[in-house]
Symmetry: C2
Subunit: 283 residues, 2 copies
Amino acid sequence: MTTTDGWINEDHDGMRYGLAGRVLLEETSPFQRITLIDSDRYGKGLLLDGCWMTAERQERHYHESLVHPALCSAERLERVLVVGGGDGGTARECLRHGEVQHLDMVEIDGRVVELCREHLPSIGGSAWSDPRLQLTVGDGIAWVAAAADASYDVVLVDGSDPAGPAEGLFNRTFFEHCRRILRPGGVFATQSESPEAFRQVHLDTVRLLRQVFGHADPLYGWVPMYPSGWWSWTFAAVDGPRYRQPRPERAAAVAAGCEIWSPRWQHGGFEAVPAAIERDLED
Amino acid sequence: MTTTDGWINEDHDGMRYGLAGRVLLEETSPFQRITLIDSDRYGKGLLLDGCWMTAERQERHYHESLVHPALCSAERLERVLVVGGGDGGTARECLRHGEVQHLDMVEIDGRVVELCREHLPSIGGSAWSDPRLQLTVGDGIAWVAAAADASYDVVLVDGSDPAGPAEGLFNRTFFEHCRRILRPGGVFATQSESPEAFRQVHLDTVRLLRQVFGHADPLYGWVPMYPSGWWSWTFAAVDGPRYRQPRPERAAAVAAGCEIWSPRWQHGGFEAVPAAIERDLED
């Protein structure tokens, strides 16, 4: 991250995305450097280890894209696990689904949660006071390894890039535990990086999830503040690509409150596989 | 545009996209400020009036997205008109279609063509020496107004933002002439800005094209260097949304050479209408 002349920039491999604004606070937790900023265009925002995570008026791309394809398609929705997601946006979108009875959110960095609740309260919104939310500050990888077989209907991984505390969220052992703890008819989803800025990680993640689950497909969308603006989320299931078929009644219950996601948008995002990536994934 | 500490940035309304590199040359033509840069990540690139236009290794998103949905779907392909497109990338992709017999390219700024041919020769590629290309340095708006009725199979507008020389490329009179000069079964296409960074211009352009042509739809994709990285191209036709159906034989002839475009990707891009934009367009 660089700050110059009123701009806060994430510099990534020869390109940068910056917002005009000012740093509100910066501190180092046991896990990472946490920066809160106030931007002219998107309101308050968060960076971790100098990488853009979210902002008040640019968070829906990410959270709607990760949550609704999974929660609209799993067979049941009683128990949901979110690994990471300390800003609360993923939990907020999950809890808009009335069928969710219990949501475990396991975030490794308690300071991220505290600072987001204080400075970015709109992102978590009503999730923080929802009695269905069980927040645990702890290691999501250990949580998944210790969880009982077939104990969740949906598992969502809302972590940062595979460096630092999120590194263990992109490997076979972790994904195999995620598959193990899913109930029959369950759906797994993770952010899967940019096909442009992190092409190899993206390809490796999709391929590995296909091996582990049997069915996995990337959904392409946009997060303007992330490197290249072009982002992906990958959905996986054991019993077929059920994540491609949102249930109409669940979709109808959440669609009016969405800015980005709709069943039509989701269908497009699963089809919008760029030609060169499609060729690479077929190899 | 700002240049600081080895970065060249386009600053737009509180956000910026920057590339690490150096300015090769900068001059002011009668129409605009022209900047050529050399970037670490994407090779040489062009800015006009301080806005990113293209770069050697980031130009396919834009050019493939604008060209192939139109050229794969028009009834005939004998005569094509490109308004703008001085870097040559749009002409290059058009001329990959063997059915094209004649391509008029009307670019207002001859210096852009000269500098791109010299510094970014790979973008125009073989187009510059293709005998089917007729380059005219002149006003595309006047060209379209003077062209005969039903004289082109495809009209493509490859212009910059609606300020400066491209302002007249986004209004009813211009679009009505474009419709008039299309042959039956013809297809029109224009870049139609970012639904995020230029939301109102985007919405206005889609609505106006629907009024003028009867059928018009935005295709959503990515141009990482443009504001927000999230971009659109809008396709229009008189006799129905034929631009949504690429002809298989034409698609097969160009698909292997594409990095982004494929019939599947195109289908996804037309469906990936974000929920809030879809609601706005229905109003």
